[in-house]
């Protein structure tokens, strides 16, 4: 057990190191952006003196590493200054948006995991049969259509004047109306799910096919165990572990997909915030929002790794 603990500590240190590196990269990239922050704030008609004064006030004349340390200090104390565009404290802007996005991501993940694994198992059990080819075709189609196209097609089908079932944009808090929350969540979550689900179906299917062809499944059959027992007890158990890894990797894809889907459905989440900030060259906001997304992603991967070690009896800690 101490081995496991040691591994978790090791993994946590590694997480911190990654987060640190990520913050350096974000800071570096943001500073490579063309354009002058002070001038962006003051507008193009401000005098040179005023710009210089503001630059001094913002600390933009300090050496880069001092600026970085200041910013890092801000990150750690959750005090990131104000958005250039909105003038509000960045923390106040980012946190509610992040919570909205996490709701969307959560709902998506639930759909993906439940339906994805189920379809993968069915597909593997009916390996090379008709059901399998139907699911496989769906999988191919799923990975071949970008989210914004799926989203638009869904809007065309379900969100439009013909069947005005689901609103095609916006967000309603579940504290206001649970039904409203659900209907607003439905289309973006479904759009996000389709691509991700195909990955999970694919992975589950190939792992299950391999597990069902394995010598231990063969041995289980030769013990006289029933088909269901071989599938569920022997094959599925070993297939789930690699699937967890894929789901964790897809978490990154999900965060990327959020950007597009939130933009498409005008969903007030962190992705939309980033796109807006990039359009407005709102440098402090870009830095903060990108950092939040990257941290969420690395933290998600960390959790998946820990879960993996918990579930896998034979992980090699070295």
């Amino acid at each position: 057990m101490s081995n496991t603990k040691q591994y978790i500590v090791k993994r946590f240190v590694y997480l911190l190191a990654t987060m640190f590196a990520v913050s350096v990269v974000i800071f570096g990239l943001a500073n490579a952006l063309p354009g002058n922050v002070a001038r962006t704030i003051l507008g193009s008609y401000a005098t040179e003196d005023k710009v210089n004064a503001l630059e001094a006030q913002l600390g933009l004349n300090d050496p880069l590493y001092v600026q970085y340390l200041d910013w890092l200090h801000g990150v750690l104390t959750l005090n990131l200054g104000n958005s250039i565009k909105y003038g509000q404290p960045i923390t106040e802007l980012v946190i509610p948006k992040l919570l909205n996005s996490l709701q969307l991501a959560g709902v998506t993940m639930v759909i993906v995991v439940t339906i994805g694994i189920a379809l993968g198992v069915v597909s593997a059990v009916k390996h090379n049969g008709r059901v399998d080819s139907v699911i496989s075709t769906f999988v191919y189609a799923g990975v071949s259509i970008p989210e914004f196209v799926t989203g638009l097609l869904l809007i065309l089908l379900l969100g439009g004047p013909v069947f005005s079932v689901f609103p095609a944009s916006g967000y309603v808090s579940p504290f206001e109306s649970v039904v409203g929350w659900g209907t607003h969540m439905f289309l973006p979550a479904l759009t996000l799910s389709i691509v991700l689900m195909t990955h999970v179906v694919r992975q589950t299917r190939s792992e299950m096919v391999e597990a069902l062809n394995s010598e231990y499944a063969d041995a289980a059959r030769l013990k006289g165990l029933s088909r269901q027992k071989v599938i569920i007890k022997h094959a599925l158990r070993n297939s789930l572990l690699p699937t967890i890894t894929v789901i964790a990797l897809n978490f990154g894809y999900l965060m990327g997909g959020l950007v597009v889907v939130e933009e498409l459905f005008a969903y007030p989440g962190i992705g939309r915030l980033v796109v807006g900030a990039i359009r407005n060259r709102d440098l402090p906001l870009i830095q903060a929002a990108v950092l939040v997304i990257a941290f969420t992603y690395t933290f998600g991967n960390f959790l998946a790794d820990i879960l993996y070690t918990r579930l896998n009896p034979q992980i090699d800690y070295s």
Partner: protein
Amino acid sequence: MIPDNRLTKPTRTNRFYRLHRVADRLRWFTKNDKILYPSVVISVIMVVSVLGPYISPFDPTATHPTETYLAPNAKYLFGTDHIGRDLLSRVLIGGRSTLLLGVGSTALAMTFGVPIGLLAGIKGGYIDEAIMRVMDVIMSFPTLLLALILLTSLPSNVWTAMLAVGVVFIPKISRVVRSSTLEVKNEEYVEAARVRGESDGYIMFYEVLPNIIPPIAVESTIRVGYAIIIGASLSFLGLGAQPPAPDWGYMIAQSQNHIWQTPWFLIWPALFLGLTIFSFNVLGDGLRDELDPKVTGDQV
């Protein structure tokens, strides 16, 4: 143990033998539907994109203000958009930027990713660890987001989009190459090469690389599909191809506001975009089936 045909001269330089090999390759190419059909589709789309200007009925950027929002008809086979541009002509040429971005960024990612992965896998130790930690940091960003940030500091066009997507794919390619290298690295023929005193460079490019072509081929084919998706998404967000250039992703983005007036505006580019990505995915799968068979049916 001694074959009777000992005295025949080696056929290394025999032309007929070479031809035989080529025929073998061709037969291999055509025997799997998952390789044949997508290859045909991709070739057709490529040819059409290249020949676009010569075969399209209209100038793709020419507007016909009196003929907007038309459904498919005899004059405009695919209909027209909100400012009366011929959708068929735009779709025919729109493949150019899409394919360019997909293939170009993958090629870029491979140019860097393959040697990096080989180096990390062969060298091991600190070099490997340093390389892979850098790759991990790059991979800590969602792909699309990273491409987006890279693009904010560059002018928006197909070439910069290609560059951005290529850069974010480098870690993915190098990971696949590295893990394949690690698999091959401990094969006895690589150890035998070390015993001969071969250099790392020789081992990387003559002993390892030729034997990890299958996973690289599969990965890069599938990467092209992803690159197209990301490129189209960038266009959709307004950071890829710029108006009035005909680009499928950009056309789809524009259709958003006119989706109720004319679904054709969305459907044609979406169909072609989907078909292209679909073909690359199926091709990648077909290659996986043929090059990397895990299960063989003829065990005795």
